[in-house]
């Protein structure tokens, strides 16, 4: 593999060089340009679902997800135009209106990536009518709890369970707005035979959907776990 082959591109007017095959998101991040994202997480397979990392590439009318699009030589990428900012605000509002996101009463208050993003982008209200889902909270597991009313369907938990822990306890059921995260055959978490209780799902959850009973969020949240384990595994 020509992993040291470097390519040069422009992001927000800055010339940068990255190894071939790097995604735009990573290329930007490594050069101090943070593109917002909720579903992407280093160490996991890119998903491209939340649509927050959309960027403009000069010469194409289409928008590209920075998390899945590899940086190409000579690319001219804009990450923060007014249009993109506006789209990100809409995306955050759609996520906040889709299920019950009431920060003040959420276990992840102050440790939530959706909340942080709303604050950062200046989303000071949600223009869409809010939806109040009423999924029962599953606290049947010894210490892991899932509140699907707060889930944003980023599938970080599903991917970390599959790729990093390797047990694939979690997956999605149904489709469209009825999509939900499930354990095994849609069992109560406590009845799941395959779950190892590794807690990684809670660590990577960007919101307060999966959490650990009786543990402070500051202690639970550790999204870097996926990257960290991947790096350790790849150690020669």
């Amino acid at each position: 593999m020509a992993e040291n082959f470097m390519i040069t591109l422009k992001i927000d007017g800055v010339q940068i060089s990255v190894p071939e095959g790097t995604t735009i998101l990573k290329a930007a991040k490594d050069n101090g340009i943070l593109i917002p994202t909720l579903c992407d997480l280093e160490g996991l397979t890119p998903y491209g679902g939340c649509r927050l990392c959309l960027v403009e590439v000069t010469g194409s009318p289409k928008l590209f997800t920075a998390c899945t699009t590899p940086a190409n030589p000579g690319m001219d990428v804009t990450t923060n135009s007014e249009r993109l900012k506006n789209y990100r605000k809409i995306a955050v509002q759609m996520l906040m209106s889709e299920r019950v996101h009431m920060c003040a009463v959420c276990v992840a208050n102050d440790h939530c990536e959706l909340q942080a993003l709303a604050n950062q982008l200046g989303v000071n209200h949600v223009a869409f009518e809010r939806h109040f889902t009423r999924e029962p909270i599953d606290s049947s597991h010894d210490f892991l709890v899932i509140d699907r009313n707060r889930c944003i369907l980023c599938t970080r938990c599903v991917r970390v369970c599959d790729k990093i822990e390797g047990v694939h306890t979690l997956d999605l059921k149904k489709r469209s707005k009825n999509t939900e995260v499930i354990m095994d055959l849609d069992e109560a978490w406590g009845d799941s035979c395959s779950c190892t209780g590794c807690r990684k799902c809670a660590k990577v959850c960007p919101v307060g959907a999966i959490y650990i009973e009786g543990e402070a969020m500051s202690q639970t949240k550790n999204p870097d776990v996926a990257e960290f384990i991947t790096a350790r595994r790849n150690r020669k």
């Binding site: 694939h168 059921k173 149904k174 489709r175």
Partner: protein
Amino acid sequence: MTTNDIRRTQLEKVLKKHNYQESALLEVLHSAQEIYGYLDRNLLMDIAGSLNLPPSHVYGVTTFYSYFKMRKPGQHIVTACLGTACYVKGVEPIVVAIEKEFNLKRGGSTADGKLSLLFTRCIGACAMAPAVVLDDHVIGKATKEIVIEKIKNMLEGTKDESV
């Protein structure tokens, strides 16, 4: 052998035909539904084990596609087509009439389990819209009177010779 064993043998044949390949999941689910009528949890667990797939994956796939049924359907099934042509030509009043006449809700079955009312997004019989399917038989250019009469005949077991 019990019926269940016979069915399991049939399913095993299907699995073998597909070489127990993970990628044949949809085909296996199709066959399993044909053999058993619907896909219950035990069956899904069995298939997951046979294809060496995580149960959550199998469940996720089964529930993604609307063709797969996880509940036992009624003895007879009425499927109304909700395609554009049928909608334009007025399938909705027919559905309402069926609901009223047989006292069941869309997507559900009658209390005695004899009749289910299901939906499909277009069976491709658009030139004869609106279309309603009774078990495997398509009624084209349906009206509520015709459909209700045919359902009644079907429930009474009288064979309809006019088609």
